[in-house]
Point group: C2
Chain length 258, copies 2
């Protein structure tokens, strides 16, 4: 029974891509099969696997707007022998919101595209870009649950409110079953009072939505994509890798909230 | 003779808002009058001044889509006695790209809105959101020059190419006079090889576009907005404040590239 999880937060640079990659690899370590979907025209997820698709190359963009281009056709397998597939993005996706813009079921394009392949995977993880536009709505409609990375800094916490409103709207009109798996504190700088205050406020406001562990700041996370590796491959015994394994465990055990 | 500078980079969380605020305050310190324009629906700039505009409140959104709402009417003055004005944003701006979407001069909405007031200021700084869409195009059309904050990490460097292509397109079709003032390394973690390698590669590829100074990572930058202060007010003798003063100096002296 596959589960589709969107990793979303409209704020930029808060660890969405990093979470999709490392949660994905942690799930694979625990014996699960995983599909990663890059839904950001900036294609950081794709770049982290060394996929630099030129414009017009077949990416998730064509899948969304052309019925004859399927996810199956464009899926890549970056780790031979591992049950991991990646659906890459490219800059063409920037046009997707316009091109889908007036089609009748425009919010369901991704859900429909994933339908034929989702049964092949235990988990489908969707990497959203830093927007609340139609692409992110597609992710929220396709998803069974969402994970929200929360950068442990003031300006990032301020953005959570808008995100929860968008989720509420999608639930009302498009995907009543959508659940919030949880909020993951990211880039937590343990040496500062600021990070601690931000996470305390997050726990006050969002309670048990907030996972009981945080991902601490470490340059290893920035180095890993340059090596085209996940952190779990680049530095397998790093504390940050351990946190993503914890997250995978909690997710597998089905912790969810409405 | 006023100069309009757009601070832009489609990558999220790279220091655009932080640069607009602190460059703005550094210019004020040097006796210049400054207008800051928040062009991001996430409104981090506005939030950093304590402006939390509800939906429907008069923000830059209404200025862009209604001829009777002027910048003059919605400008705020956050520091009595200082020649600093702020044009706030709110979440309504997320709809701007759709609402402007098919108007004939949609790329000129911001330029036209700034025309009546720009002469009152030495500098107008525009804070762009993490996109390359119509709002950012408006900023690139309105601007005389752009500053590009570059987060000193691998995934952020990968995004520069797309940004330069967008700038080239705007120059070809909409704003031939647009100049690049420079690329500012941000959130530079001096203790890591990674940050050094990223900036070295940036200098190899972009040469003298890259300013000869970088803004180092410091939690003080994250704390300052929580105190509704720029870093120059919150920690005036902090090295990061000093770098923004250097940037202001270089900008005032008119360093520019084609
Ligand atoms: N725990 C961490 N410590 C230090 N750096 C991190 C950590 N997690 C992620 N990073 C780095 O921070 C940057 C932003 O992370 P990431 O790309 O995952 O964010 P994002 O939310 O996907 O950004 P965008 O909104 O642009 O899609 C990247 O360079 C990444 O390698
Ligand atoms: N030199 C620095 N050291 C440490 N933190 C910084 C530095 N500069 C900015 N920050 C913090 O990093 C976060 C992102 O910065 P900022 O909001 O300026 O980026 P942005 O590019 O405007 O993001 P967005 O794409 O979401 O608009 C903020 O919490 C900010 O306070
Ligand atoms: Mg990302
Ligand atoms: Mg910003």
């Amino acid at each position: 029974m596959s589960r589709i999880i969107a990793v979303t937060n409209q704020k930029g640079g808060v660890g969405k891509t990093t979470t999709v990659i490392n949660l994905g690899f942690a799930l694979i370590e625990k014996g699960k099969s995983v599909l990663l979907v890059d839904l950001d025209p900036q294609a950081s997820l794709s770049q982290s696997f060394g996929y630099a698709l030129a414009s017009k190359e077949q990416s998730i963009y064509l899948v969304l707007i052309r019925p004859n281009v399927t996810v199956e056709r464009i899926m890549r397998y970056p780790r031979p022998g591992k049950p991991l597939a990646v659906v890459p993005a490219n800059i063409d996706l920037a046009a997707a919101e316009l091109d889908l813009g007036d089609k009748p079921h425009r919010a369901f394009a991704l859900k429909n595209a994933l339908q034929p392949v989702r049964h092949r995977f235990d988990f489908v993880l969707i990497d959203c870009g830093p927007t609340l536009g139609l692409l992110t709505v597609n992710a929220l409609v396709a998803a069974d649950e969402i994970i929200i990375p929360l950068l442990a800094e003031y300006l990032a916490l301020r953005g959570m409110h808008n995100l929860f409103e968008s989720v509420a709207r999608v639930r009302q009109r498009l995907n009543p079953a959508l659940k919030i798996a949880g909020i993951l504190g990211t880039m937590y700088d343990g040496r500062t009072i600021h990070a601690r205050e931000v996470m305390e406020e997050a726990r006050e406001v969002y309670g048990t939505y907030v996972f009981p562990f945080v991902v601490r700041k470490s340059v290893r996370f920035a180095e890993a994509p340059a090596a085209e590796r996940s952190l779990l491959e680049y530095a397998p015994s790093h504390p940050g890798a351990e946190v993503y394994r914890q997250l995978a465990e909690v997710i597998i055990n089905g912790r969810q909230h409405a």
